[in-house]
Every structure is written in structure tokens, then in C-alpha cells.
Amino acid sequence: MKTTDIAVIGAGPAGLSCAVEAARAGAQVTVLDENLKPGGQLFKQIHKFFGSREHKAGIRGFRIGQQLLEETEKLGVEVLLDAAVYGIYEDRLIAYITDGKDHTIKAKKIVMATGASENALAFPGCTLPGVMGAGAAQTMINVNRVLPGQKIIMVGSGNVGLIVSYQLMQAGADVLALIEAAPKIGGYGVHAAKIRRAGVQIYTSTTIKEVLGEEKVEGVIAVNLDEKWQQVTGTEKHFNADTVCLAVGLSPLTELAWMAGCEFTFIPSLGGHVPIHDRNMETTLKGIYIAGDITGVEEASSAMEEGRLAGVACAESLEYYDENKALELKNQIWDRLDALRTGPFGEGRFTAKLKQLDARRQLA
């Protein structure tokens, strides 16, 4: 049977950063991803990142992805693609499917970095071809270089909705409007300002009443919401759209963690039920770690830091680092994570993550 020191499930920013950090310490690392290409969400993020120099701020997401891949290669990390993990069993045995066939790999440590999936939204017409996740549209334009439509309505004003609207225009589409149910804009003002300057209206307290069309999207009717989130008749607006993109939040992809038997806690602001973990990213199961969006949805920079943290912690527990060296590295990472979780946008996540750690302490 195939064996390895550390098996990382998911080759997104969290998984790759974890692999690089652990391999740098000397560990043997195997990364498994169900996709044919590594990188997770990183390769569709063509904007310059926020943060500080240590977070690779000012560098475009896909270039960070390339750098991470080069590092994994240099350090001899094994990356198995088309490897969909479907089960984690006793003694850290991982079952996965490649090319339709079953395989297993046994690891001393497992890191789950499976990311998150996009939420859907129900409204009349929501299943029509042309209604899609904002991330799906982002994949199409930035990875596959194909426009899913010409005239877009974006739903949701978080950073994903704002960024993908901007990128759709960069790819040559028109964004007719961005619609947000809440009374204010959710994402960063600087992202909003980019699309406002390009002439995109942002309608707050507004939702989709109906998407028109028989075989595909042929129009959108939006309607205002009152303070009680009820539709206000008579405020309908019609848009001549051919595509509707939904950016209404992400949910951590936690099936594997459930299956493995990790304990969970419910924290709505992190995307719902999330596995409990300690300061080292270890779950309630010994030797099983998590990193990135699976631990609660944040963004790519924090996913990379969490990945590094899990990598260092795994390396330490396999004795590739002594306690002092590991602590030195972990302190740096904790500081950088804290920096990302400050300010009006970060504080909520900071408290949410504290709650998650508290849940661990209460169990102990």
C-alpha cells in the first residue's frame, strides 16, 4: 500500500501552502486533489491581493498560485491530480478514486484543505441555464477564457460579487447591475468603487423577483425590499440580462470531516457547521488537521496562513522540528493571521475563530 508522512487533501492555497511548509521541514508530503489542475480557487483570482508583503500583497492571485506550484515541485512534494478522496478510515487510511479506479494511501498525518462551495439561492427561474455561481463565471472567464454571457446581473455585494463583477468587465462583458438584499454593501469599498466608476449601479435592499425565459435567461426582474425584508410591490425594475451570477456566500466543504468523525461547532459567520480545531489546526481527532475555507470561510490570504500553520504543526509532531523552532515559526504565522483579522471587516472573523478555539478548550 502507498504510504506517506503527510497527506494533504485539496491543492488550493491552503493545501499547497501546508505542503510547502511541511516539505521544507523535511517531511514527505503527498497532496491529493480531485481536479485535473492544482490551485483550487487561486488560478481564477487575477486581481492583486491585499494584506502585507508577508501575505504577498500586491501580487495577483494566479501568480501566487504559480509560485506555490514551483515551490512544491522544488521541494519534491508529490501532487496527485484527478484524485477524489471519498473516505477517511481508521489509522488514517485515505480512499480515493483516480480515473474511475479505487486507490488507498496511508498517512501519519492528514490535513483536510477541501475549501468551500458556493451557496445557491431560490427564486422563480433560478434553475434556468444562464443562472450560475459567481465562481463558475470566474472560472469560465479567467481560467477557460470564455464569457458565459454578455449582459450580467450580479447578486450579492460581498467581495466575491464585487471582484467577479469587475473581472467580467475586464473579460469584455457588461454588468447591468449588482443587487444586494441587505441595506449596505458587504465587501470592501475599494472593490465596490472600481465597479461604480465603471458605471455599475449597486442596488441595496433589492432582490431578484423573477428570472424570465423559457430555455435560458432572457431578463431579470428585481424588486426592493423593505426593513422586514419583504418585497415592495410597485418597485420592480426590469433588466435585459442574459446571465445571472450568484455570489451569496460560501459553505465549508466538510463531508470528509463529518465522515472521519471530527466534532463540529455551529458558527454562522464562518459559513455554518465547521470542524472544531485547536491553535495548531488539529481537529478533535489526533493526527487529523484542517486548513483554509473548510475551517470557516475567509479568504485566500488567511487560507495560506492556516495551511502553513498546519504544515509546521504536522512537521513538529513528526519531529522534523523541535518545539522551539516550531514555536518560533508558529508565532510568526499567528501574528500574520491576527493582522488579517483586524479592522471592521476582520473583527467578526477574529471573534468567530476565538469561539471555534473555545469550543476545543471546552471539550478538553
Binding site: 492583486k48 494584506g51 475586464q170 475599494v190 461604480r196 465603471a198 449597486i202 483579522r341 476582520g346
Partner: protein, 171 residues
Amino acid sequence: MTQKTGVIYQGFPSEDELSRIPGMPSEERIKKGSVACIECAQEIPCNPCEEACPYGAITVGKPITNLPKLDQDKCIGCGLCIAACPGLAIFVVNGSKEKAEVSFPFEYYPLPNKGDEMDCVDREGNMVVKGKVLRIVKPPKYDATAVITVEVPMEHLKTVRSIKRLGRSDR
């Protein structure tokens, strides 16, 4: 319903917000020559602007959620911070000549040509006035972000912040 103003409602900072953030230069400074306007009004974890300025004119400090602060006397208006800002929130204005000059980041295809008369728009994308493209800078270091400078009548120095996207010839 009256539209509430401010960045969280409208998606761009209001006059009032701009007058209170530490990244904006004074009227007198603008009249003296090129200077940066850092229209970054929310405490987000971000500081590439600080590092980009070779003259030490921008300070974010710690925590990195501090609003960027402009030292208008150190700023020479070189424009290097414009492309470094992932929020595309920095502009350079020059009010020392007969006409105003506004430099802004631009990441759409295609680019205009030097000398073109373009539709200049405000922070809401509304057409304000025609303006001539004086310069387009896009060195490899800017990593695909172009910095465009347009010339507009002086009264539009504080409103013009971009140009209308051009139609694409590839479709």
C-alpha cells in the same frame, strides 16, 4: 427613498468621508503640483501603498488596518503608488497648470491612445467631460495595470476619476 451617502451605501467615499480621511492632500498642496489622493476610507488589512512609495510619503504602520496617511510635503506625485494599490484607490492630481491633470489606474482592454479625447467619468461612472489622454504608463513592474493621465478643465479635478471603457474590437 433618499439614497444614503457614504462608501458602504454607494460604493465610493462621499465628499464628507474624503474630507475626513488622512490620505487626501489640501487645496493649497494640489495647486502646487502633482500629489496623491488616497481614496481608501475603510480599515482593511492592507499596506502595499506604504511600501510602494520611495519617498516615504505614505504611512500605514501597525496594525495594518490603519488608514493610509499621506505626508503631502514628502509626496512628489510620481504615481508609483497608483499601480501598487490592489484596491485601485489611489489617484494623482495636479492643479498647478491651466488645466487639471488626473492620473488613475486602468485595467481594461483596449487602452486608449495618447492624445485621444476620452469620455471622462466621475466616481459613479457618470460622464463628466471630454478630456485628452496625456500619458499612458504601463511598465512590467505595474503587472498589467496601466496608469493613464488625462487633462480636464480645472473645475473637474476633484470629480474625474476614470474614463469610459472602450468598445472591444474582438467581438
